[in-house]
Amino acid sequence: NVAERKREARDPYLRLVNVSEATTDSKPWGINWPRQFDGYLRTVDATHTQYGGSDGSPTASRLEKDPWLKRLFAGYAFALDFRERRGHAHMLDDQEQTRRVTERPQPGSCLHCHASVIPTYRRLGDGDVMAGFVALGKLPYWDAHAEVVATGSENPIVEGHTQRFETVPGAHPVGCVDCHDAATMELRVTRPGFITGIAALASGDAPVPHLPSVERWREGDRKKPYDANVDASRQEMRSYVCGQCHVEYYCGPKATLFFPWRNGLRAEQIESTYDEFRFDDGHRFYDWQHAETGAEVLKAQHPEFETWSQGIHARAGVACADCHMPYQREGAMKVSDHWVRSPMLNIARACQTCHHVPEAELQARVAVIQDRTHALMATSAVAAVDMLDAIVAAKAAGASEAQLAEALALQRKAQWRLDFVNAENSMGFHAPQESARVLGESIDYARRAQIAAIAAAAKPATK
């Protein structure tokens, strides 16, 4: 036993089979790295924390829990179906089953973050991942999905002393190949959205003190764009791999999927990037037209990377993986816990190496932060609903489009900020003060929209 542990220690990467860049199925990888694979498999499990966790049922609706969301999202697919996130193993199923996909047309870009999609990009682009990414994004969802199934996984088949690869059709959720180089096991990022987005962030001038390699690149000659896989430190990579998906994005029919980071990562910087953006038809950027008011509004999606970027942990060099994939001892080995989940389920490893205080105390500290965010979000939601009521009333009273212009412009800002915190998944923990600030601004814009609508209703054009 001791002897066995010593052997394990010497040979960390004893490979029994070879895997390739096209092995999207994680099972063969699991033959080589059973500990990480075991953890990965656990992401299917149901868990529970006060504001997070994965309750295991695909029906836990956030729309039922917070009915004001239906008002906010009126006219958009999110008003149809918006659920609690779950573990990584579910990501593809959950996308296939959401009414946003089953009842509304969606673009192939959706698969960017819900499937192990890079080999399909490579195939469609004839070796050029970027070209394939653009091409797949243009297909309707189910056509794109069929392409991913067709690409399948290049699985190793061992026969005696030789090994060959065989393509097994089928689509897979995020797998080892999405974060690891098949040859070296190094971390790397693969997602075009991230690669382009972080390069755009670097080329801008918003300060990013929590990403030293970006600051360093900016001081260089800037001849080549910032390349995360070349320029980033290992510690940064421990967040970048997550930043491939846990980010705000545009994913719709009117432009190629992109991460709006050119002007920086704060809510209003992203808003300004959107405001500067023009669709091909010259129209300004928007996600959808609000069904109740007609405003051209924005949808925020899970800006975890952006929010984390504003917090003290990022500033102190603490990566996503430090908390969500902490090291754990397995026999003579220390490995990263590949059961990616809420750190509140694993406080000892996720927090206590750095914070030497009892588990209950850490739980209480998180609760204080999250409860505060939750309370302020409730206040912000009431303001947003009052805003919608007032605009609807003003329209009913006959206010003209011109008279409502100010109210609608303010609505766009108010909704964006409220949704930015609502859609973020840590209930404010990743950046407590910043989340509260964004909500404070949302309240201001919502109430000002309400006031503008009241003014418009007071002297309607049609009277």
Partner: protein
Amino acid sequence: MVRTTTRSWPVLAIPLGMALGLGLFAFRYAEGTSYLGNAPEACANCHIMNEQYDGWVKGSHHAVATCNDCHTPHDFVGKYMTKALNGFHHSKAFTLQDFQEPIQIKARNAAILQQSCLHCHGDLVAELAAHGNTAEGAPKCVHCHSGVGHGPTR
């Protein structure tokens, strides 16, 4: 040839370093010769090191590692070179009282520290240390374990 250098270096260098830094009186009074040994008291003899000493006494490694296990390289040359350099530096700083407080570990000594962790725990963390894609190699142990030497600092 190489052998003679490695032997004579430390023997000369340490007292030399200390003497330059302190002047001989202070070197003796501050019990400078004990600096050559492995006893943690040698470090704590200098009251400036009291805090670290106290922390070490209460820390998790008290029973298994002394100051030099963590703060000097584990090869003979490096060990005495480091002692000479640190001896010179600490003595000078102590006499001139011109150092920044609280004392903060410097880059060179931080690198030595990292190597010391790996010296004892290299097997355990082999898998983590294996696939560093940058010059950093293994992750910095003190990023998470800053309390191992001297207990929690905050």
